[in-house]
């Protein structure tokens, strides 16, 4: 009852919020391929959104359209309730591309200042904000260094600062943790949470599914230019569950197939069973109890995003292959 009440409030909160970004029927075709083929989705304000997909799926093209680098062939982008106008809205967006770099010979402070001014900040504002962020991420001593003197991880940190410096409403991070050690990765992760809390929306593009599971609220999976999955992480996991339960017990050898479930795999003191259609998890439990099997733990096994990702990507590939053969 109380749970329902809370979800109701939660649902209400989400429904009432306008999406910060709304893509509808976005298309971008190249001479040889359909890079983005009719993709639509919404991103809620203040959420951390995962854009997933294998290499060459069309993620980068999609992100470049959202950042105004490319114009879509068809479809519309609504940013913050208004049709997206690349030249004016650029300051609302912070984009950290996957292929990113800096001017090697330029001093780090000057470089950050330059990039911040290009985003529309005045020199004084930019200086103040750079100082704030450099202090926060322990980078103050870097101001007069050159980028060529930085390690890859250090320049990654600089990239991040430059991306979020102008307090954009929408922050797009393409593989933000690549090349970062765990300490710095955590540092950045905490900043991402803090930014989302303050009201920024974060689009997070990566191949690292364990990070997505940890960080993201909502995900979209694209492959071959099409959207093949859209939902919250919990919803997606639920929808891909296969009714497999793990049973921890000291006598797994006493459990075997029956009309309620089928054994999928056996370990030393663990057994995985798949519930047959028409039965539920309680029936499994009562069957085990009736058979005097001592249960240590009983859990539903939800698929990891990694498994879902691989499964979906492989199936879309095989359908295209099948089509190509015709």
């Amino acid at each position: 009852m109380i749970g329902n009440y809370f979800t109701a409030i939660f649902d209400y909160k989400i429904d009432s919020m306008e999406p910060i970004l709304s893509l509808s029927h976005l298309k971008k075709y190249y001479a040889t391929q359909k890079a983005v083929d009719d993709i639509s989705f919404d991103i809620q304000k203040g959420s951390i959104f995962g854009l997933l997909g294998p290499n060459g799926a069309g993620k980068t093209t999609l992100l470049r359209m959202i950042t105004g680098i490319f114009y879509p062939d068809q479809g519309s982008i609504i940013l913050d309730g208004q049709p997206f106008r690349p030249s004016e809205d650029i300051s609302k967006i912070g984009y950290m591309p996957e292929e990113r770099g800096m001017y090697k010979k330029m001093k780090i402070g000057e470089q950050a200042l330059y990039l911040a001014q290009l985003k529309g900040l005045s020199k004084a504002e930019a200086t103040e904000k750079i100082k704030y962020w450099f202090q926060k991420l322990e980078m103050e001593s870097w101001w007069n260094k050159k980028v060529e003197d930085l390690s890859k991880g250090m320049s990654q940190k600089l990239q991040f600062v430059v991306t979020v410096l102008h307090e954009p409403k929408l922050i797009i991070l393409d593989e933000p943790f690549s090349g970062l050690d765990p300490v710095n990765a955590n540092l950045i992760k905490d900043e991402i949470y803090a930014l989302a809390k303050k009201g920024s929306t974060i689009i997070f593009s990566t191949h690292r599914m364990e990070q997505v599971e940890e960080i993201c609220d909502h995900i979209v999976l694209v492959n071959l230019g099409k959207k093949i999955l859209d939902g919250t992480v919990a919803e997606v996991k639920q929808s891909f569950k296969e009714n497999i339960f793990s049973i921890e017990t000291d006598s797994p050898e006493n459990i075997s197939d029956n009309n309620i479930f089928t054994v999928v795999r056996k370990d030393v003191n663990k057994i995985f069973v798949k519930i047959n259609d028409g039965n539920n998890s309680n029936e499994v439990l009562s069957h085990l109890i009736n058979n005097n099997i001592r249960i240590v733990s009983y859990n539903e096994l939800l698929p990891s995003l990694n498994e879902i990702f691989i499964k979906l990507v492989e199936s879309t590939h095989s359908t295209t292959r099948a089509f190509q053969n015709i």
Binding site: I69, Y95, G101, Y103, M106, L115, L118
Partner: protein, 442 residues
């Protein structure tokens, strides 16, 4: 507009603050002067010495073959082609008996072949001797001949160009010099600054900062900002060179002895009418040089130079930027792609060399109108005077076409650039680049 300004500032200040820029700016004029004086010095000291044995059955040639620093003529007995080198001679010159109405060749044999200049000077001496002998045979006295020679060396051609009622002294040598120098300067700077633009674009692409920046500015703004910024670096360099040259010459003038300086000033005041007697030879020479330089229309030449430098630079640097944007890490790609751009520059330079001598041929006209070559060729023609060598409408047409030309190349390159700068790992040809330019893209 504000963002383009930021880009221009960055491009300009990172280059001008660079130590290499200052080094090049101050060393280049010194290096040029060093080169000129150095080669002059080498040409006077590094000469070989020759001793030539002459067999002369005529007798009259002997007086004409005077020894110089380089050549010593000797007239030994019993010498022939077999033993001249054993006897310490480097060459042997065998003259036949010269007769009237009879062309007969003379022969030079050497162990080491003789340079063209030396050969010419020897044959000139001999031919003059023959001419003199023939004139004397015809009854002209030696002293009459000498005075004729002297008189013919004194006179010199003074050319004037007519502008309405006013005749202005013109100087073809100066025009040629200015035309050549400005053409050459534009040629060199097109290469230097064009490649600077290309390398800058390549740097942004290979450092992968391009995508970060064009998420803030339009690709076209980034390209244009770079081109303008580097162009401003070029103008700064020219300005510094002019200041440097003027101050160096005035320092040089200041170092001259006081009486020569005084004489030069007097010559200037009297418009050169002071006369040979009062002025020393060096003062006269300095005055003449100044006088000749002053005959050129410097304000026109300088402003046209700035215009054609900028026009040519904008025309070509946009193309260089386009090439830079499609090149991947491999610099070899750049070399083959840049070839169609460097070819017209080199051709224009060759044409310029011809035009400095003949400013009014059809080739000179067309090459100075077409924007591919006009920056260099038109400068060579302008040196001969406007409107006497280049009429106003030609100048206007050439300038208009150049402006149109660089607008076109900038537009073309902008289209190529926006696609190229984000494309990695693909080898691109000019054909694909042109295709990008003329199909509607993102």
């Amino acid at each position: 507009m504000h963002k383009i300004w930021l880009i221009i500032q960055r491009e300009y200040s990172t280059r001008v603050k660079n130590k290499r820029f200052l080094l090049v700016t101050f060393l280049m004029p010194l290096l040029m002067m060093g080169l000129i004086f150095g080669s002059a010095y080498l040409s006077t000291t590094g000469i070989e010495h020759r001793t030539i044995a002459v067999i002369d059955p005529n007798g009259f040639v002997k007086n004409a073959l005077k020894n110089t620093d380089q050549i010593e003529f000797k007239f030994p007995e019993n010498i022939d082609t077999n033993n001249y080198s054993k006897n310490g001679y480097t060459d042997i010159l065998i003259l036949p008996k010269f007769e009237k109405n009879n062309k007969s060749d003379y022969i030079l044999r050497s162990k080491k072949s003789m340079g063209l200049m030396l050969q010419n000077s020897i044959s000139e001496k001999i031919n003059n001797a023959i001419e003199d002998q023939l004139l004397q045979d015809a009854g002209i006295q030696q002293n009459t001949l000498d005075s004729i020679h002297k008189a013919s060396q004194v006179a010199e051609l003074k050319a004037y160009e007519d502008k309405g009622n006013v005749s202005k002294e013109s100087n073809a040598g100066l025009a040629m010099g200015i035309g050549y120098a400005s053409g050459f300067l534009i040629y060199i700077t097109l290469f230097i600054y064009g490649t600077m633009v290309m390398r800058g674009v390549m740097e942004e692409k290979t450092n992968r900062i391009a995508e970060v920046i064009i998420s803030s500015v339009k690709p076209f703004e980034l390209m244009l900002g770079k081109i303008i910024g580097i162009g401003a670096v070029g103008l700064t360099q020219f300005a510094l060179w002019i200041v440097l040259i003027i101050s160096l010459t005035s320092i040089g003038m200041g170092l001259l002895p006081a009486d020569i300086q005084h004489q030069v000033t007097t010559l200037q005041q009297s418009n050169g009418q002071m006369g040979m007697a009062q002025a020393s030879e060096s003062a006269m020479r300095i005055y003449n040089m100044q006088h000749t330089i002053a005959t050129a229309n410097w304000p026109l030449i300088l402003s046209c130079f700035v215009f054609y430098f900028l026009g040519g630079y904008l025309f070509y640097s946009a193309l260089f930027a386009a090439v830079g944007s499609v090149v991947n890490e491999d610099p070899q790609d750049a070399q083959s792609l840049v070839f169609p751009i460097t070819m017209p520059i080199i051709f224009s330079y060759i044409i310029t060399n011809m035009v400095t001598q003949n400013p009014n041929t059809p080739l000179a006209f067309w090459a100075s109108i077409i924007p591919l070559s006009s920056p260099m060729v038109m400068m060579a023609r302008i040196a001969y005077g406007v409107p006497s060598a280049v009429s106003y409408w030609e100048l206007a047409l050439s300038m208009t076409l150049l402006i149109g030309g660089f607008l076109f190349t900038t537009w073309l390159s902008g289209k190529i650039y926006r696609t190229g700068i984000l494309m990695y790992g693909k080898k691109v040809s000019w054909k694909t680049m042109i295709k990008w330019a003329f199909t509607k893209q993102s």
